[in-house]
Symmetry: C2
Subunit: 99 residues, 2 copies
């Protein structure tokens, strides 16, 4: 019986491959696949971000590779960066409330 954290890790792997297999290299996200993944899988989550440019900034960073593809490592770094940003916001709110 997997734990919730293990299910979360499996979800990251599954979602990546669900989009990466659509076209070209099946183990990498093309720009189109990445955009589709962001729009469909991260819409609500990104709404809670204070920085509306966050996704654009991350996409620019990923583009720095200049191969126009995102491998699983880069994808996980992106998810980690977004999660840290959301945690920062959560902690800030908790501290404001004096909890």
């Amino acid at each position: 019986m997997p734990t919730q954290l293990e299910i979360a890790m499996n979800t990251m792997i599954r979602i990546f491959h669900q989009y990466s297999c659509k076209e070209e290299d099946r183990f990498k996200l093309s720009k189109g696949e990445l955009k589709m993944l962001l729009q469909r899988e991260l819409t609500d989550f990104l709404l809670c971000q204070k920085d509306p440019q966050l996704v654009d900034k991350i996409m620019q960073d990923l583009d720095a590779n200049k191969d126009n593809e995102v491998d699983f490592n880069e994808f996980v770094v992106m998810v980690a960066a977004l999660t840290v940003a959301c945690n920062d916001y959560f902690v800030e709110q908790l501290k404001k409330k004096g909890k």
Copy 2:
């Protein structure tokens, strides 16, 4: 309605705070809290790893800070590293099967 990826990201935040609030600094994991989190939340997942020393290596890396505490950023880096290792194994198996 959050997506599965958003739920996965929320799970990482929730699990971290569930353990970090047990003692001392409530926004950081002490060594004891980290060990408890690894033992309770990552046991099954780690069993599928080919490298039995993986967790020890990650803990040593985290210890490099020498403050004996793990903040959320460090925790997410650890989860990301484990997820990449599991994905590598998954992709290797797929390629072996010629899929």
